[in-house]
Symmetry: D2
Subunit: 121 residues, 4 copies
């Protein structure tokens, strides 16, 4: 990709797969362990939000947003590795899911309302 | 974005924010609850990989990859919402993290070796 | 155990193992899947605390404490199954861990202070 | 409790609450953060089971069972703190849950079968 264009999800996926294949790590990457890693990385994101009141949290996030951002990237990293491993086209899946969300949460019913779709009346 | 081009992370982020703002949901979206949701969605991905031996797992994933794919999208959805809320440029963060990973796991040391970087000798 | 005495962790462990063995489920219970279930059940506890402000949360917990209590039991259930599977004496482990915590967080330093022990000065 | 008797869950709860109150930590312990910690500690247990094949896992667990045991204790610690905070009698909850499990998974149907109760026929 060119330096001045933003990468697509597919570009990122290719970068990640190249990183992995350069290290010959595919041998370790079964889908179950990738799903497990996805959870461990998500927990690392969550850890930043613990034991702080609202004001402390705001200051903490402002100061540490680079670190938190990189932990979010770790989560995306495993999302892309996992979807690659199980042959999911993540772009297609994304579009399908957003369509589904639009049906589950129609603007008219869901506006200002954060109930689960099964509880929306 | 055009129908025939692949979306960037920024495109997806815009779609997600529009979905949210159409429903006026920003009022519910503090970073802590987004990080919490990220973990719950990751757990939903993981649930698919439970109580199955290797052969059962392979068949199960093949049959259910659309559903699993959409649950992976839910994880990416919260990654993008959270990074948006805390003003992280996720594209930049991605590039920085991959650079860091390259340093932590140099091909020469990490090839065929899945130890944590702190244990690589 | 007698009806009018409180159960020990070992009593609970025995009850759980009997429940399992009556169903012949040991064949499914490898330590990795038990650790995985532990995480899924913990996520189910966490789900109750999402998308609610402090006041809403207080009312919600008061109304739903039986359900939340039973989900906490599910977590303890997998703690005991897992420790049984890997031959850990959970009573001993408990006493050792509390001793360790007392060392890591001496009252004098840790009073009114919720920093991690590595950051306590 | 006497040195030579096994502690009940209530004994452990009292020990934990005393540990906390000696440090005046109740001020930090809202139920949401306790549920969050429960998830982080569960993730630390899970981390031990990553990236290892069956044989490696068996050896690893044998060597590290003291450490894993103590991380399981951390999970139980937060289970007891949380149930204490929301006024759940964990002994009662345990007995209720086991009764419920007996109904959901009758021996006749569940023997040798690890399907979810909603899928048992």
């Amino acid at each position: 990709m060119k330096a001045n264009t933003k990468p697509t999800l597919s570009d990122l996926e290719k970068k990640i797969i190249k990183f992995r294949d350069d290290r010959n790590w595919k041998q370790f990457h079964n889908p179950k362990d990738l799903a497990l890693s996805l959870n461990l990385e998500s927990a690392e994101v969550l850890e930043h939000f613990q034991w702080k009141n609202n004001k402390e949290l705001e200051e903490y996030v402002e100061k540490n947003k680079d670190v938190i951002g990189q932990e979010i990237v770790d989560v995306i990293y495993y999302c892309l590795l996992l979807s690659h491993e199980i042959n999911v086209d993540i772009n297609k899946a994304f579009i399908q899911k957003m369509k589904l969300n639009n049906k589950k949460y129609p603007v008219k019913k869901a506006k200002n309302n954060h109930k689960k779709y099964t509880e929306l009346s």
